[in-house]
């Protein structure tokens, strides 16, 4: 029985089958140990890393979006509160001013009143003193006129009555 190679595409060759089986098995084992293991694990690690990064980015993005929404709301709120503060301040100022004006008005009124009273008082006292002066003058005049006819008490009474009638009129 000879198994030596000869022409023909389908000629069996047991030796080659043995050789190629050993070759392929060795190749498979060597590559599995030294190549495919490290390569596939590295690829898986990288893929996991990329997935992780993507998820992180996704999370960061959603966080950023949330923050942005938050910020927008805060800004709007801040704006609103600023408006409110401004309005309140304006109102307060307005109120303060009107109060101030009222106060001033009152003061002025009060002062006017005081002045009027003062004037009244001054006028009264002036009138009194005028009256006294007039009385004195009248007395002196009457005294001079009626030096002998009437004593001083009587004259005074008559003048006082007269003056009293005057002030009543």
């Amino acid at each position: 029985m000879t198994m030596v190679i000869a022409a023909g595409l389908l000629e069996p060759n047991v030796g080659l089958i043995v050789w190629i089986s050993i070759t392929f098995l060795a190749l498979l084992l060597l590559l599995r140990r030294f190549a495919w293991g490290p390569i596939t694990s590295a690829l898986s690690a990288r893929e996991a890393g990329i997935k992780e990064s993507l998820e992180q980015a996704e999370r960061a993005l959603s966080e950023a979006k949330e923050i942005q929404v938050e910020n927008t709301r805060a800004r709007r709120e801040a704006g609103a509160s600023a408006q409110r503060v401004l309005r309140e301040a304006r109102d307060g100022a307005e109120r303060l001013r009107s109060v101030e004006i009222d106060k001033t008005k009152d003061k002025i009124l009060h002062m006017q009143e005081m002045a009027r009273q003062e004037i009244e008082r001054e006028k009264d006292s002036a009138l009194d003193s005028l009256r006294m002066e007039v009385a004195d003058l009248a007395i002196t005049a009457a005294e001079k006129i009626l030096k002998e006819s009437l004593d001083k008490g009587r004259q005074q009474k008559i003048v006082a009555d007269f003056l009293g009638d005057l002030s009543k009129n």
Partner: protein
Amino acid sequence: MTPRKLHLLVLLALAMISAGPGRVGATVMSPWYQDEARAVEHEESGSLEAGQVSSEPGQEAGEHAPVEKLDPVHHGIDSNYLDFEPFGKLQLPRIFFVRRADGSMGLDMYRSTLIAMEDGYTPDMEEGAHGAYLDAEMVPPLNREVIIDFSITKHLVFAWISMLIMLLVFIGLANRYKRGIGRETEPKGILQNMMESLILFVRDEIARPNLGAKTDKYLPYLLTAFFFILTCNLLGLFPYSATATSNIMITGVLASFTFVLTQSGGTKEYWKHIFWPPGVPVMVKPILIPVEILGLFTRPFALAIRLFANMTAGHLVILSLIGLIFTFGDLFGSIGGYGVAPISVAFSLFIYLLELLVALIQAYVFTMLSALFIGMAVKEHQHEQVDPVSNH
């Protein structure tokens, strides 16, 4: 082992292969001398004179070297030498596992066919030898009987070259990944990017869809098969090289690996499907069971034949197209030969490019079908999902 040391080792191995026959040992003989003479004659004759040689191979043999005919099939088949015509032929070592006259077993090892002939082996020129002793069957001396011929052949050498290329490329790549290139950073360089996309293709498009959770277990085999076939296919497109995958023995061994992996990983359900197919009447089962059992073997058989036929066919077509030049030269003189040459060359270029495509496609098809067959056997099937009736 550092990558540099590995490179040195590979170079050494390549050097040893190329040193080949007749270089070492006491009887230093040139294996080339006869071939060179024949090459010169071949050059002079110009066109092929097939008829002369094949009609009377026995007479021509031995005395003066006959003209080699351009035989596409002969070019494609395995041989015990590397063909570097017109520079000569590099004879490969012959190793015979023999039974000697005294009944003991042993190995007869020779650096070349020529040296084997010196030791008493004679070429059998009668059968398909094309009149060349290198292509002839070796008949052992009378006191010995060859049991298995372990001779190194052309296809084996190119399978080894593919293996070396793969080891170099992928162990080199693995070291890159170990250093962090591709793991923490992006892959750098054409080679890494290219190989990575292929590896990812095998993993994501071939292994994952078919194997599911068992991807990791079978991925090394699928990757090895894919890249081995691809490397062999592409290597066969280089001048002076041979396509290891155009050898039925080699594709058969590859298919056997798929077969063994399929059957060894088979689930209980897988075997039940074969020996007691569910969902068919009992009467049909006796017909179906043999069909299923036959199916176990036809699938890997088809794998082997498909790859072998595809890789052989391309080379046959190219060589036939080139052969047209000489046929036309013979029929219509040199004008005919020159006239048809541009067409032949254009067509063979087209087939060559097609072969480039086929090299990839066949590697893909083999791996894809292997994954499919293994997946069919090892995957845990969910029948609840397949059969909607049982859900209600």
